[in-house]
Symmetry: C2
Amino acid sequence: MTTGAPAELGALKQRMTELSDLGRIHSMLFWDQNTMMPPRGAAARADHSATLELISHGKLTDPVVGRLLDVLEPWADGEDPDADDVRLIAAVRRDHEKAVRVPAELAAEMSHADALGQQKWQEARAASDFSHFRDALALHVDLRHRYVACFDAPEHPYDVLLDDFEPGFTTAELRPILDTLRDALVDLVSANAGDGADARNNGVFSGPFEADDQRRAVMDVLEAVGFEADGWRLDPAPHPFAQSLGPTDVRITTRYDLHDFGVAHFSALHEFGHGLYEAGIPPELARSPLGQPVSLGIHESQSRLWENVVGRSRPFCAWVLPLLREHLGPGLRGVDAETFYRAVNSVQRSLIRVNADETTYNLHIVLRFELELALLEGALAVDDLPAAWNEGMARLLGVEVPDDASGVLQDVHWGAGLFGYFPTYTLGNLVAAQLWTRLQADLPEIEDQLGRGELGPLRDWLREHIHRHGRKYPPRELLARVTGDSLRPEPFLDYLRAKLADLA
Amino acid sequence: MTTGAPAELGALKQRMTELSDLGRIHSMLFWDQNTMMPPRGAAARADHSATLELISHGKLTDPVVGRLLDVLEPWADGEDPDADDVRLIAAVRRDHEKAVRVPAELAAEMSHADALGQQKWQEARAASDFSHFRDALALHVDLRHRYVACFDAPEHPYDVLLDDFEPGFTTAELRPILDTLRDALVDLVSANAGDGADARNNGVFSGPFEADDQRRAVMDVLEAVGFEADGWRLDPAPHPFAQSLGPTDVRITTRYDLHDFGVAHFSALHEFGHGLYEAGIPPELARSPLGQPVSLGIHESQSRLWENVVGRSRPFCAWVLPLLREHLGPGLRGVDAETFYRAVNSVQRSLIRVNADETTYNLHIVLRFELELALLEGALAVDDLPAAWNEGMARLLGVEVPDDASGVLQDVHWGAGLFGYFPTYTLGNLVAAQLWTRLQADLPEIEDQLGRGELGPLRDWLREHIHRHGRKYPPRELLARVTGDSLRPEPFLDYLRAKLADLA
């Protein structure tokens, strides 16, 4: 603790440690629900989740927290603005101010609906029938209206939701970025995509590959890039995600598709990127309000960097192929490194976001952003969502959606009440490109290192520049500190055009 | 809610619902720690566990709870003494009075030590070296001394610990029961045990049997007796246990020993008995203070009943053998039903409690009870525990302990700070025998039903007489209501002598 800090600082930190623990416990419940819980556990899980939220909310909104902040802020004004404690006070102020606006009952109701909605979504997806999910979604939308109404008239209601995932970021900033991307990407897809008849990844991952073989291949790759068996787990999940219960208890998930090893390979690299961020939080910050990733956009910059910028690069592809051959040998016979590299970078109009290539990916996000805005603005009724989805997929990607499971029900997010979340994937793609530009300048040997499977320097750079700060610097400031730049789509588009030119 | 109940009843129930949820969440953390958590997650888990305990303790000891009880008790005095609400008030009074005596810091410290101690125990057991566990155990003992000191001079300090697991039961009641058992069992072992050279279960389960085959066999048996795939889980764990996150989220564990399928078979039946009790709690009680098993003795009566009274009975053995053969065929070749029955009931002097037969089992408990008393009374130093263990095993069971892993480190309980717990296994054996006597009168066809694998009538009887009451009736009263009898060792000894005579 900073020398000469008021006693209130210790009191505030003590309270925030409890809150941090409760947040981790909530992550535990989420992880379990999505990997282990038997289906009929959902109702009780929703109750537990709501109770935890109610308690957390009560602790965060406690008037004592406000009074501690009132005492501490004048002191912080006289301290080094970059001191951890000063940043911690600012972070708690932000969280406290947001929380006090939301009645505890509403917070608990949202948490309850989020847990139950996930289960409804799973059932609906299994049945490929949106109607099973309709009521849960309508409740989510209604709850978001009530949530937004807790805040003083924002410029746009969507700003309130966006701010929960990307602090300080607004719809007005987001819209032109997505417009630029949409226009550029629709052209790039037209120029580079096949006729839609090609197998995914040109068939190099089509197998069939047994789940056990896939798992062994994924584990070998993960352990080579930095997964540590005594502090991480890998499990299957219908919709891959990452959670950490602490910097040395990191849980990532993946999915094994018999006829597409690309699903497991790239989702594992993606979730590894998330996990590495969580693992890189310094232990001394881990139970504090600064001991978490700063935003989902930054979080996604880490996952997308490992999945794409690294995982789909020519040198990494050349390095990883022999490793994969050890477990998937027969199915990869006749595939050489250049074929492999070209295959995993092929541009294809496809149905599923998480499997999309780098060129089409952000168009999937544009669609979700449009639909979320329309739902929130009341321009789109919940019942009309599947039709709007299908229309958007035809318009933006030129594909026809055969059923709800591979259409509107493909993602867990709306089931879990996560509105305002999807755009952070695109932010992640943009930030990853900006970080990579900087990283290449700092690590001129990076391409050669990737080719030798030497990931240590990359991990160290990310830890030094991103992970170790946790939530200390708001995302905008963090990006400026690392890259000297503000968030822009151009570096990503430059990166993409260079790769497409290389492949042409 | 009872008509005309004071408004305070709703307020009390609301508070207790939160507490019940927190308890379930704590079970989730425990289950995960013992099945899923990577080893380096232990430190954070201990923090989370302590925070949860601190919050639970704060809610239970809140002076408002005392004031609500003060208002409600005079009302309850005028109501039907068997009304759920009246019993609920009594249960909360008990919990509140116990909790207010214990400072929150001590409760949290114990919870923290319990989580860390489990990890230390796992490490020590893996290394078969008590010295790795010594400090954690010394801390546990010290914490128990501080815990006991919170209560007004009990007749015996051990009473305080015992009461946490078996409400209202005392050391003075327990000691003569264990003395009677010890004397009778030492004689029965002498008269019936082999020379110690026989393979466990006369070798019928010696295999080797692959873990996957064992798992399939166990699942087939479990599904036949009442495990429901959509509301239960079965996982491997180093020390089998059961937890429930709700009546439709029941988690049981087992262990696969390549050379002894008996470990998996009987531990799965044992944990199934626990799970069925948890699954039988009525949904409307599940989040209330009455929505949990009433005591560990009653809990163990359920597990031991399924493991032994059912699982080692002649008709069940005859029914289950063909089921096991489907997955373990070659290894069970030449074993007929009578051989099988005799094998799983063979009396053997052995090292491991959980694998012990019904005749030797309670001698393992006698040893643990002696040692816990000695530790608590200060008559035994922590450092001298392994030697005392080995001496006791020679004296009571006539076996020599080759190493700590199969000696003093075999059970998780002391690692998790569970002192006063072991005697409830013996209580469970005694209660199971008393229940079975009554059950045979109510279900005269039970033997035939077991022989046909018809477990429905048995499940229904247990649900009706035990499970559905949750924690409504204290254990002594519950036993009297069901059997008209008080806790006695004689029905168990009669049951045992009859079986040994049958086998002779």
